[in-house]
Amino acid sequence: MAEPGAVERRAPGRGLSARRALGGVAWGLRAYGFIAAMWVRSTMAYRASFAMMLVANFTTTFLDFAAIMIMFSQVDALGGFALPEVAFLYGTSCVAFGLADLLLGEAERIGRRVRDGTMDILLTRPVPVLSQIAADRFALRRLGRITQGALVLGWSLTRLELEWTAGSVLLTVSMVLCGGLIFGCLFVLGGAFQFWAQDASEVQNAFTYGGTTLLQYPPTVFGKELVRGATFVVPLAFVNWLPALRVLGRDDPLGLPGWVDFAAPAVALLCCAGTALVWRAGLRSYRSTGS
C-alpha cells in the first residue's frame, strides 16, 4: 500500500510535483473504485429493484432509437444517410455517452451538494473531491443505455456493407473511448460550472444529453453554423461525426482536412487538461467563497 504521505515526504524538487500529481491521480482512481464498489454491493442487495431500474434505463434510452425507426418507416434516408448509417452514429454516440454517464454522471449533483452543505463534508476527507462526487451513488443500471447503444451499433455493423480494415476497427473503438472522455469532460465541466451557479445544473443537459442527441443524426441534417459550433466550440464532432464519416466513407460537410478524422484522441486529451483546470478553479472558488 503506497501511502500518499510517503510520496509527500521525499525531498522536495521538480520531479516530486509530477510524481505527486500522478500519485494523486492513482489514489483518486482507487478511491473512486472502492466507493463505487460499495454502492454496487449495496444496490445488489435489492436485486429485483435493480433489475427493474436496469430495464427502465434500457427502455427509456432506447426510445430515441424507436423514434428514429419510426422516422425510417416513413422515409428511406435522412440527410442522405440510410438507417444502418444513422444506427452507426446512434450506437457510437450512445455508448460513448453511456460510458461517461455511468462513470461521471453524478457530477451533475454538485449544485445540490453546495446548497445542502454536503460539499463541505467531502472536503474534510482525504480523497479527491471529484472521486467522491463521481463515485457517489454509482449505479450499474446506467449499463442499460450502454447495452442498447451497443446492440444498435452491433446491428448497424451487420447491415453496413463496409470493408473493414484494421484502421477502421481502431477508429470505431477509439470513437467510443475518446467520445466517452469528451462527454466525461462535459459532465465535469457542467459540474464545475455549478460551483459558480448552483441552480444551473440544467445548462449542462443541453451539452450532454443535447450532445448525444445531436450526434445520433448525421451532420448533414443540421445547419452549418450548428455543425461548426459542435466542432470548434464544443468539440462534439470528434466524438463520432468526424471519425464515423471516415469509417462510412462520407465527406464531412465542413470540408475539413482529412487528418482531423483521427484527431479525437488528441482532442480528448486537450479536453481533459482544460477540464482539470476549470475543475480546480471551481473548487478554489468554492473554497474562497463558501458557496
Binding site: 427502465a56 419510426i70 416513413q74 442527441t213
Partner: protein, 268 residues
C-alpha cells in the same frame, strides 16, 4: 367559496415556489431552446424527404417542435412536478397527516401542480417558443380565438398529465420502490405524448392506438389545436382531453379511496 380560495392559495404558493428559482428557470429555458434547435433540424430533414408527413407541412412540423419545448416543463412531460414530493411523503409516512387535512388530497396536489404549471408556462414556455418563431418560419395562428382554445387545451393537458401522474404516484402506496414507477411514468409520457415525434407520424394500427391513449392529450392535442389540425375547430381535441380528464381523475379518486383505506387499516 372558502374551498376555492384555499385552493387558489395552494396554487399561488406552487407558482411562487418555482418562481424563486430564477437561475434554474433560465437554465431550463436555455436547454429547452437547444433541444428545440436539434429537433427542428431533424424535422426539417424528415419533412424534406416526405413533405406532408403526418398531415403537417414543414412549417407546421417546426411549430410542433417548439410547442413541445414550451409544453415540456408545463405539462411535466419528462417528469418533474408534484410526484417526487408526494413519494417522499408516502415513504416517510407524512401522507397520513395529509389524509386528515380538511381538504381533499387530490384537489390539494392538483392545485399545487397547477400553480407550478402556470409558472412554467410563463417562465419556461414563452421564451423557447419565441426563439423558435424568430429562428424558423412557424405556423402560428393570428386568430385570438384559436389562441384561447389553445390555452384551454394547455390547461386540460396539465389536468390529464396530473391525473396520470397522480395514478402512478398513488401506486407508491403499494410498491415500496417508487423510483421504478416514476421511470415508467416518464417513459410512457415521453413516447406517447408526441415529445419525440408527432403521433400522427406513427404508422399503421400502432399509430391509431397511440393517438387514442391519454398521453396524446398532453401534447399532441394542444399542438393540433394551435395548428388548426384538430377537428371541429379544435373542439374535438378539447372533448378528447376532457373525456380522459374525467375518466382519469375519477380513477384517481377510486385509487385514492383504496389507498386511504390501506393507510387507515395498516397505519401507513
Amino acid at each position: 367559496m372558502h374551498l376555492l380560495r384555499l385552493n387558489l392559495a395552494v396554487a399561488a404558493s406552487g407558482f411562487r415556489r418555482y418562481a424563486t428559482y430564477r437561475v434554474a428557470t433560465a437554465a431550463g429555458v436555455f436547454t429547452n431552446t437547444v433541444f428545440g434547435f436539434i429537433l427542428a433540424y431533424t424535422f426539417i430533414a424528415l419533412w424534406y424527404e416526405r413533405p406532408q408527413l403526418g398531415g403537417y407541412d414543414q412549417s407546421q412540423a417546426l411549430t410542433f417542435v417548439w410547442i413541445g419545448q414550451a409544453m415540456l416543463a408545463t405539462a411535466a412531460l419528462m417528469g418533474g412536478g408534484f410526484q417526487d414530493e408526494f413519494h417522499a411523503r408516502v415513504r416517510n409516512g407524512d401522507v397520513a397527516i395529509d389524509l386528515y387535512r380538511p381538504v381533499d388530497l387530490q384537489l390539494w396536489w392538483f392545485a399545487s401542480d397547477l400553480g407550478r404549471a402556470a409558472f412554467q408556462l410563463l417562465g419556461r414556455g414563452l421564451v423557447p417558443l419565441a426563439v423558435g418563431a424568430f429562428a424558423f418560419e412557424l405556423t402560428l395562428p393570428s386568430s385570438p380565438t384559436v389562441w384561447l382554445l389553445f390555452l384551454c387545451a394547455v390547461f386540460l393537458a396539465v389536468v390529464v398529465s396530473f391525473a396520470l401522474r397522480y395514478l402512478f404516484a398513488l401506486c407508491g402506496f403499494w410498491l415500496l420502490d417508487a423510483t421504478g414507477l416514476s421511470a415508467l411514468s416518464t417513459l410512457l409520457s415521453v413516447f406517447f405524448s408526441g415529445m419525440l415525434l408527432p403521433l400522427t407520424v406513427f404508422p399503421g394500427a400502432f399509430g391509431e392506438v397511440v393517438r387514442r391513449l391519454p398521453w396524446a392529450a398532453t401534447l399532441q392535442v394542444p399542438a393540433d389545436v394551435l395548428l388548426g389540425e384538430s377537428g371541429g375547430g379544435g373542439l374535438a381535441g378539447l372533448g378528447f382531453q376532457l373525456a380522459w380528464a374525467v375518466v382519469l381523475l375519477a380513477a384517481g379518486r377510486l385509487l385514492q379511496a383504496a389507498a386511504t383505506r390501506k393507510v387507515v387499516v395498516q397505519g401507513g
